[in-house]
């Protein structure tokens, strides 16, 4: 183990834990809110089961607005909102708020796009068998789109890791923040490189896992 890693051992573990918390909460938000939102976005499209021009336009606009914000500005812009629900705008817990917002918008769009790929005929067959909208979502759409949903989540998680690196601006901590403060700003380039390496390993692992799972569950 390089000496510099040993010296900063506890700070490194701390920053890894912070990254895990920030990314973990983002993943939860993506699945619990982004997945239903993306499904609704898809279902309200023209020609779909819950076609509704107004609902679609509003959801579409909201997702686009959140996604087109430069992320740093979104964090700053959301400070009053964060303060409202967390009680403070500073720290790891506060950092999860803007991360969750972007996570929801990011994954919702990818969910919508995966569902578009489900053949129209499968939905018609389900309707002809007397399926409800709920049946169609859980027994047909999610089953048929599952590898796309997994690949989309993989892409999203990797983006969340990237987004989480700038959460230092609101004291969110994390690996990226540690690399900047201890590595870059204190001229310990070696330490910075090690941190980049750690993130690279994480990203590789996540991508490998996601791709493998998506391949195994794809029977098409």
């Amino acid at each position: 183990m390089p000496e510099i890693l040993v010296r900063y051992q506890s700070e490194i573990w701390q920053s890894i834990a912070e990254t895990f918390i920030m990314v973990g909460v983002s993943i939860l938000a993506a699945i619990l809110v982004g997945l239903p939102l993306g499904t609704w976005l898809y279902l309200s499209r023209k020609g779909q089961l819950l076609e509704n021009q107004i609902v679609f336009s509003v959801l579409n606009l909201v997702v686009n607005i959140v996604r087109s914000f430069p992320f740093l500005l979104l964090v700053v812009f959301l400070i009053p909102f964060t303060r409202l629900i967390i009680g403070t705008a500073i720290g790891t817990a506060a950092a999860t708020v803007p991360l969750s917002i972007i996570a929801i918008a990011h994954y919702a769009r990818l969910v919508e796009q995966s569902l578009i790929d489900v053949p129209r005929g499968v939905i018609e067959a389900a309707l002809s068998m007397g399926a409800t909208v709920k049946d169609i979502i859980f027994k047909f759409l999610y089953v048929e789109a599952r590898s796309g949903l997994v690949l989309g989540l993989t892409t999203s998680i990797i983006s969340f890791i990237s987004y989480s690196t700038i959460m230092g601006v609101v004291g969110g901590g994390g690996i990226g923040d540690f690399a900047i403060r201890y590595g870059y700003q204190q001229f310990q380039t070696e330490l910075m490189l090690y941190m980049i390496l750690i993130m690279l390993v994480f990203v590789q692992l996540i991508q490998f896992t996601g791709t493998t799972v998506a391949r195994i569950i794809d029977k098409r």
Binding site: V122, A126, G130, K139, E144, D218
Partner: protein, 248 residues
């Protein structure tokens, strides 16, 4: 069994089905033939309300479909099976689970699942394929799985939308044989939409020729295989007449 009265269906400016009335008898194999764009698929999809008519009424087995609530319509659909040109199986589910979907949606008791699914697979001759996925099957086998799925909830009618149009002649014959036994052994009324003359010739008892959204005419095949025709024969009728003369 199925009665359409003065049914109209419009897409934007275009009339897909105009003023169609017809009656399909219980236990027959009823063909609907026409060139593409003649409105025959739309007509079929009106029979389980996948398309809602703009005017007119659709009655299946005594129930006027347009009068049913959403819940009643879903229940009714368990008794109206449907198969499609592209089979429309769930690619991520194996053969068994595809057929099982139909039982789950019809809310059949769990204890009956295994027996009923296997019964249906045996009927179409695919009980050995229960664990295969659709991508591992031929087109004809996929269509037979789709037939098993449609039959699982014990429908009284089977609607077939171009069921053999993406199959080669051999597998077409195989699928038609299955449809014929669905009709003969299970007593299911079969309504079959196609643009292929041969399909009509092989299994249909009566045929409606559609052109430009309307019923051009309805033809009855006699037991000898000879076809009686009214005046104004269309292109399809001409073909049928030649066939009839050749047989006579």
């Amino acid at each position: 069994m199925i009665t359409l009265s003065s049914v109209h269906k419009r897409y934007g400016q275009e009339m897909a089905v105009r003023d169609v009335s017809l009656h399909i008898r219980k236990g027959e194999i009823y063909g609907i033939i026409g060139a593409s764009g003649a409105g025959k698929s739309t007509l079929l999809r009106l029979m389980n309300l996948l398309e809602k008519p703009d005017a007119g009424s659709v009655t299946v087995d005594g129930d006027q479909l347009t009068e049913l609530s959403n819940r009643e319509l879903r229940k009714k659909r368990h008794r109206i099976g449907m198969i499609f040109q592209q089979f429309n199986l769930v690619a991520n589910k194996n053969v068994f689970d595809n057929v099982l979907d139909s039982l789950k949606l019809a809310k059949r008791p769990k204890s009956s699942w295994e027996t009923r699914v296997m019964e249906c697979l045996r009927f179409v001759g695919l009980e050995a394929y229960r664990d295969k996925y659709p991508s591992q099957l031929s087109g004809g086998q996929k269509q037979r799985v789709a037939i098993a799925r449609a039959l699982a909830s014990e429908p009284s009618v089977l609607l077939c939308d171009e069921p053999t149009s993406s199959l080669d002649p051999n597998t077409t014959a195989e699928v038609l044989r299955v449809l014929e036994s669905v009709n003969e052994q299970l007593g299911v009324t079969v309504v079959l939409v196609t643009h292929e003359m041969d399909v009509i010739r092989q299994i249909c008892h009566r045929v409606t020729v559609m052109a430009d959204g309307s019923v051009h005419e309805t033809i009855e095949r006699e037991p000898t295989g000879v076809v009686t025709i009214d005046q104004n024969p269309s292109w399809f009728v001409e073909q049928l007449r030649e066939e009839g003369e050749a047989n006579a």
